[in-house]
């Protein structure tokens, strides 16, 4: 009780601070009493370079170690890891579970990541590459290390605008709820996967992301996944994101196209003259 009470007071205090700074009412965040550094706009300062650590990029769910391409030896093997799905289960519809298993079986040629295709959301977040957040005026940009992927999060639209067309990275509208950046992402083209295990969604995917600072160098990333065409209910993933602390940390450009060309066009290439 006492703890809860304290939390409530802290939350109220930070809400008041936010209210004073922004003039907007904010919702309380009951799970977190860390008071983040504030950016120029009075909102939590998420500027910087961040990265997920873990094995979610291999498989969102619990997974044992497994073999990769034999010629890659232990480097190519899939390391074991604990899942990031809240409750553990991804509630696939029957057909979709079969599709997921098929994706897994065919993953070497079918995973968009092997082809250096854009990663989609939320996959971009926990690929094993850093990404940089820039909190600009009216927009937040996230620039990902993988495949020149990027997102513009519109913070300046009173009502969300439909994307002119479906895309890999979708369209993102954001808002602050207390110290949490909440991003609604949708209008996806349904081509992206969630991980290297073949987890996937369709173009009716809607992702609600929550970025909540929990210490100067970490924030919690929670994403609610809704896709009535693929799942029987919505589900969530949750993982921390860590600030890259190297003094010279950069998101280093990684243009992976050339490494996908053998997979994509190898059958159309002229073999060297013998």
């Amino acid at each position: 009780m006492v703890t809860r009470f304290k939390t409530a007071i802290n939350t109220l205090a930070s809400a008041l601070v936010a209210l004073i700074l922004t003039g907007n009412a904010v919702l309380a965040q009951p799970t977190n009493n860390y008071e983040p550094e504030l950016a120029w706009d009075g909102n939590p300062d998420l500027n910087g370079i961040w990265q997920a650590i873990g094995t979610a990029h291999w498989d969102l769910q619990d997974h044992e170690a497994s073999a990769g391409l034999p010629e890659m030896g232990a480097i190519g093997a899939v390391p074991p890891g604990q899942g990031v799905v809240v409750g553990g289960e991804i509630p696939y519809q029957d057909w979709a579970l079969e599709q997921k298993q098929e994706n897994w079986a065919n993953r070497l040629g079918a995973d968009p990541e092997t082809k250096c295709y854009l990663p989609g959301v939320p996959r971009a977040t926990y690929l094993p590459y850093p990404f940089q957040i820039l909190q600009g005026t009216g927009k937040i940009m996230i620039v990902y290390g993988y495949a020149e992927a990027n997102r513009t999060i519109h913070m300046d639209k009173e009502t969300p605008e439909a994307a002119p067309l479906d895309t890999w990275m979708g369209r993102s509208h954001g808002r602050w709820e207390g110290s949490t950046l909440v991003v609604d992402a949708q209008d996806f083209n349904g081509e992206a996967w969630f991980d290297r295990a073949g987890n996937f969604a369709s173009s009716s995917l809607k992702v609600t992301e929550r970025y909540t600072p929990i210490s100067p160098d970490a924030m919690m990333y929670e994403a609610t996944i809704e896709d009535p065409a693929v799942f029987t209910r919505s589900w969530q993933i949750s993982m921390p994101l860590y600030r890259r602390l190297e003094t010279n940390a950069r998101v280093v450009e990684y243009k992976c196209v050339e490494f996908s060309e053998e997979i994509l066009y190898g059958h159309l290439m002229k073999k060297a003259e013998e």
Binding site: G136, M141, K270
Partner: protein
């Protein structure tokens, strides 16, 4: 049945016209004793009228009209061109195409094939068997081409009617549609060669084909924006059309920018066809001229600051205004420092047409009137050396060029590497990525304290430039776009690009190249961009280019260009090259 009331002795004229577009308008003059209205004009939407006038003069034997720089006369029809935005070609709209008749179609197609598709060229449509001309027994020979602005044109060999021949409609109900035109405008129901039902206005046929793929597209905003008919008395015709329950989009008025005092009305025909009805003397409208943003005085303008106190470059910018500026000063502009706005508009159009003709008009940012900025009047990008020419290349570089293996043409490409990094959707390189192109000229800048992100729409590339002193990449790390070190010099963002991997080259630049870029806001909507290339291995002195980005937040948004993901061109090019290999191998085996 009320057609006679509309005006018996008038000339029927087909008109296409619209506010913002370059539209093809065909005006048709009919023999006096004919029926009510006469087809008057067809209006084609495009981005540069003089190119279009030349094209129709050269290829369709149309004549210029004295005092009108945006129309041609083609026999009994006029074609009017209106500047502006279009959203696609004519095919599939209510007015699918227009027809011209020539005396020798095979010779004509041979001639057009030699014109090619580059520049203000001609795109030919081949039939399934690969032929260009098809002989329809009992009718005549036919062929299809497209003008550079997306207008579909049927060429026929009908000795009975040479020159402008017909207007071909798409209709969900051709019989009803043709009947509508006959009722409203007169004309005579008939059958072309006893094979195609139509309505004839004077010589000119109005034909209709049943459209089975839903409804035809609305013409307004497409290459053939509208067609026009002339009536002797528009007020009287209006009464008549009201009686026929014709839907008006615009009541008769003399448009503000009209060239004569003749009135014009717009009505909606069947199948989404916009129709202008004009009075005799109608001479089209003056083109809408884009007003150049001339606020280029760098001294006076104080750019806004970000809330945290740095110069604010944020927003959506485009290089569309700069499209067409040559890198080096051409000999044709030796005596001038600046083009006239008309010359600039013509140059941009040529630049657009010359870049990739094979792309339909809807691809091209710069032809569509999406662009709100006037074409730049700058004579060349190079500002240093001051003669506008690149410096002399070094002796060593000349030797490299002399000994360089010839470039492998795309149709012989062995692997994607032979096709270059742009075609591979990797990058246009640190210099090239900023250059204006025919599409995807958007540039988005977002800043956070100490950082400027510059995102280019083409291919989709983002550079994050730190404006604070920092440790750079070590020597062992080089990338396609390098390591950008930024700083503010007054209100100018200065970026030094280091650690380039040298795998792309701009006009021969080597991996020794040092690139320095400068971004300066010069007005509320203008940002001057300078780039200095210092590459002593190639050029005997550094050189600097400059052009201006124009802010376009109100209408432009960067849309994800998933270039590599949709690179069907790569698959198609390589498979074509392999097919050529196989054909040659087979021929060699048979020898």
């Amino acid at each position: 049945m009320k057609c006679r009331n509309v005006k018996t002795e008038t000339l029927g004229k087909l008109v296409t016209a619209s506010r913002n577009f370059l539209v093809l308008v065909a005006f048709f003059s009919l023999p006096l004793a004919a029926v009510a209205a006469t087809p008057h004009h067809i209006t084609i939407a495009l981005s540069n009228t003089s190119e279009a006038v030349n094209w129709y003069e050269e290829h369709m034997d149309c004549q210029t009209i004295t005092g009108r720089d945006n129309a041609v006369s083609c026999g009994t029809a006029e074609i009017e061109f209106l500047l502006g935005a279009t959203v696609g070609g004519s095919q599939g709209t209510g007015v699918d195409h227009i027809g011209f008749s020539v005396t020798d179609l095979d010779a004509k197609m041979n001639e057009l094939e030699n014109v090619g598709v580059q520049g203000s060229g001609v795109r030919l449509l081949r039939f399934d068997d690969g032929s260009l001309v098809r002989d329809i027994p009992g009718l005549f020979k036919i062929a299809f081409i497209f003008d550079p602005w997306g207008t579909k044109i049927e060429l026929v060999q009908d000795a009975d009617l040479l020159g402008f021949h017909h207007i071909h409609l798409n209709s969900v109900d051709p019989v009803a549609s043709l009947d509508w035109y006959r009722q409203v405008f007169g004309g005579e129901a008939g059958s072309l060669k006893g094979m195609l039902d139509g309505v004839q206005f004077g010589d000119i046929w109005l034909l209709a084909t049943e459209y089975t793929d839903g409804r035809p597209g609305i013409t307004q905003g497409r290459a053939i924006d509208h067609i026009g008919f002339e009536v002797a008395d528009l007020d009287e015709a209006t009464v008549q059309m009201n009686r026929l329950a014709v839907e008006f989009q615009q009541e008769p008025i003399v448009p503000d920018n009209a060239r004569s005092s003749a009135k014009q009305a717009f009505i909606r025909g069947p199948d989404g066809v916009l129709i202008a009805v004009v009075e005799p003397g109608w001479a089209g409208v003056e083109e809408e001229v884009f007003i150049a943003d001339t606020s280029e005085s760098t001294e006076l303008y104080v750019p806004p600051q970000t809330p945290w106190g740095e110069p604010d470059l944020q927003g959506i910018w485009t290089a569309d205004a700069a499209h067409g500026i040559p890198l080096q000063r051409g000999i044709d502009v030796a005596g001038t420092d600046e083009l006239t706005p008309e010359e600039a508009a013509a140059r941009r159009e040529r630049g657009t047409l010359n870049s990739i003709w094979g792309y339909d008009r809807e691809w091209r940012d710069t032809t569509l009137g999406y662009v709100k900025s006037a074409p730049s009047t700058q004579v060349a990008m190079v500002i240093e050396p001051s003669n506008g020419q690149l410096p002399e290349t070094t002796a060593a570089y000349k030797e490299v060029v002399a000994n360089r293996a010839p470039r492998i043409p795309p149709q012989r490409a062995r692997t994607p590497v032979d096709l270059g990094t742009y075609v591979r959707c990797i990058t246009r390189g640190p210099v090239g990525m900023m250059m204006p192109s025919i599409y995807n000229n958007g540039l988005q800048i977002i800043q956070s304290p100490g950082n400027v992100a510059i995102q280019k729409e083409m291919i989709h590339e983002t550079r994050i430039i730190s404006t604070e002193p920092r440790e750079g990449f070590g020597e062992g790390l080089k990338t396609w776009l390098g390591d950008s070190h930024g700083r503010w010099e007054g209100n100018t963002l200065v970026v030094e690009v280091r650690n380039l991997n040298g795998r792309t080259s701009y006009l021969g630049s080597s991996e020794e190249m040092k690139l320095t870029q400068r971004f300066t806001r010069t007005g509320p909507n203008t940002m001057e961009y300078q780039f200095t290339v210092d590459d002593p291995a190639v050029w005997t002195e550094p050189w600097t280019g400059m052009f201006t980005f124009v802010k376009d937040d109100s209408q432009y948004e960067l849309v994800e260009y998933a270039c590599h993901e949709g690179n069907y061109g790569m698959t198609n090019t390589l498979s074509a090259a392999r097919a050529i290999d196989a054909r040659e191998a087979e021929a060699a085996a048979n020898d």
